[in-house]
Subunit: 137 residues, 2 copies
DNA sequence: ATATAATTCTATTATTTTAATAGACAATAG
DNA sequence: CTATTGTCTATTAAAATAATAGAATTATAT
């Protein structure tokens, strides 16, 4: 499952995509429209900003906006960024590969091989849909 | 991510598949060969037995074995059984559907639609591989 | 019958992760 | 200058996960 935080992050980004190139969107707007606790959203957006996915401006008339065009942000990117990996097990991650705890040696582990397939399929879907797809899917 | 418990469950079942039709396999064997804490495996196997996926016999020479032929147990079945659902968000589950917390109405939620696609792809892979596939993938 | 080897059950504890909140600080527009 | 808005660091709360403990039960061989 995606964590609540990841779900919030995705919906916040969708909201920003909907207002792309319309100037800074204040956090309060996002929180209200998307039904996200605003203090928590603060934490989430600050992280996304540190990661370079959103740009920000402080002060009056400030807010957040996408640092890239919606079409250049895929769901795969977002998930990798917010939870580290698309994979369902640590050893099946392409970019954040690590050994699973208490497992067999990787080359003997059948689960490993199954999960590599699953990860590839998931990547296929998630990397093919961007924030620009309003009615995607 | 799959939980550690789910990973243990899958590897335990794979072990049983490897010894299918060879009589009861004692828990201790599985725990040692698969590197799973034995008391924890106790809990896991009892659950799998209650779910009807493995059969058991107590007492001397007792142990666990698969209640079905390995070819009739898919990875999809196991994941659904141990974590309730294949889906990455509650609202995208086919059999355990529920509303995501703090979300928008489902028909407005774009994440919902994306995640339905992902679930279908995952199901495609996981339901097509069974415990009989030794070198699957 | 009895000893032994095994699972089962219920409860509890420990650990980790996730979610949420608080409050002081910094920047900007007007 | 002041109101508005994001930033940062820390803390707390809550939930999920992982692991353990120990008594009870069952089956088998002898």
């Amino acid at each position: 499952m995606l964590s609540q935080k990841t779900r919030y992050a995705i919906r916040a980004l969708q909201h920003l995509a909907d207002h792309y190139a319309q100037g800074p969107v204040p956090l309060t707007d996002i929180a209200e429209k998307q039904n996200i606790p605003s203090k928590f959203l603060t934490v989430i957006l600050s992280e996304l900003s540190r990661e370079g996915l959103v740009a920000t401006q402080r002060g009056r008339d400030g807010g957040y906006w996408l640092a890239l065009s919606p079409i250049d942000i895929s769901y795969g990117d977002i998930v990798r960024l917010t939870r580290g990996s698309l994979a369902l097990v640590p050893c099946a991650s392409r970019f954040a590969h690590e050994q699973c705890k208490n497992c067999l040696p990787e080359e003997e582990c059948r689960l490993h091989r199954v999960m590599l397939r699953v990860r590839d399929e998931m990547a296929g879907v998630l990397d093919s849909i961007s924030l620009a797809e309003q009615f995607a899917v």
